[in-house]
Symmetry: C2
Subunit: 249 residues, 2 copies
């Protein structure tokens, strides 16, 4: 995170850097106007959370890691804001967990798809799915339904950070295990997730990667115990309490 001249001592260092990456994403044709507005919404929720990973989110990140390790065919979905905010971190998580990367856009255009694939490759990705688009998510309109059959189409576990509510619900309806990163615990995406992670994506993804590394040698039984102990309703309630009251647990 040294691609902009903001002194690290600045009290808003992380926030300014994040915003800089998002603006750069616009210039590269990666981030859309809707993406900028979504970034602002995220900033407000993160501000109310205290711009920190709350304990219930850290737990959810560990549970997400366990799901990725248990999966037969895990996929990490990447949209414009994810690509702009943490391209290298997503590539690292894919490598650590053995998951595939798939570009998956709400406002799909060939130019944005290609710009994001290129951006991920610049950050070290080898294979990036999403361009084939030979699969469909049922009950979504044409452009929004497109996925790769070999990717999200047949995935059992999908990490969908910053996902649109309609699509998050449609993926859940397909029976997939959905790991959602979303700063609004009241959003439809968070509410339809198997594992809602209410945290800033720039903190969440490295945390999931850290947990994947910690749990890599755990037995299937241990991983299943972690997954079974997770209480999604309690995690959502704790996050909402943190945002509303400024405290948690």
């Amino acid at each position: 995170m040294t691609d902009v001249e903001v002194p690290e001592s600045h009290p808003r260092y992380e926030s300014l850097l994040t915003r800089h990456r998002i603006e750069e994403g616009v210039e590269k044709g990666i981030t859309s106007k809707q993406g900028l507005i979504a970034q602002g919404r995220g900033e407000a929720f993160d501000y109310l959370l205290g711009e920190r990973t709350i304990p219930s989110a850290r737990e959810a990140e560990r549970v997400a890691a366990a799901y990725l390790l248990l999966a037969e065919h895990p996929v990490l979905s990447v949209n414009g804001n994810v690509a702009a905010l943490c391209p290298g971190e997503m590539v690292e998580l894919a490598e650590a967990s053995g998951a595939a990367l798939e570009v998956n856009l709400f406002n799909r255009t060939p130019e944005r798809m290609q710009a994001i694939v290129d951006h991920l490759r610049e950050h070290g990705a080898e294979e990036v799915l999403g361009l084939t688009a030979d699969g469909r998510i049922p009950n979504l309109d044409h452009e929004r339904a497109k996925v790769d059959r070999e990717g999200i189409g047949t995935a059992d576990v999908v990490l969908v950070p910053l996902e649109d509510g309609d699509r998050a619900e449609a993926l859940a309806a397909m029976g997939k295990t959905e790991l959602v990163v979303d700063l609004n615990p009241m959003s439809r995406s968070a509410r339809s997730a198997t594992v809602p992670i209410v945290d800033n994506i720039v903190r969440a993804v490295p945390n999931v990667t850290e947990s994947v590394r910690e749990l890599r040698d755990a037995s299937r039984q241990e991983l299943e115990a972690i997954v079974e102990a997770f209480d999604r309703e309690a995690a959502l309630a704790a996050a909402e309490r943190a945002i509303r009251e400024g405290g948690e647990e």
Copy 2:
């Protein structure tokens, strides 16, 4: 508000229309990338407020109206998001209150200044200040300090909706009576205001205009009584409570 095809029955009608106006602002060169992010932050706070004018905000809007009527030289400051979101409403408030309109940008470029002046004129404004820029706000760097001497430079009361924290503080330090519209009651802008109005600008401006009309025939003494009865700390606390706890007063 009929410039986009969203059925009025849609549960998110106001929110979608607002977003449409902001995006149109981008296309016209009025709204900046920072403006889009700021819009998103506002959406999140408004969502937590329940997308309604809370009672303490309605009171602040009435107090702002009283200040405008008591002023010798009131000015309404217009930035990119204000111009995109409620150009006609700002013109109407200027006419009702006898205040001047001045374009005042955080990221000032001649093109954006002109685009906003033109946009306000299309919405009925006659005189629009801001292009002369022969005055300065002390303690701000060059471009951000620019104002019209005959406008904000010598104004006694300034309405500054959606203002940057540095500038709101610098205007307050000049001794001006500042009426701030900001959905985040914890922002520096809201905290430096004489009258913080924690409400969505698309609701706030018409409310201030309504109060100006109601109070137009009030005596100076009545107006001064309204102004003196206002407790800004209580208003900020009520707004924060509404956002944090979902209730108020």
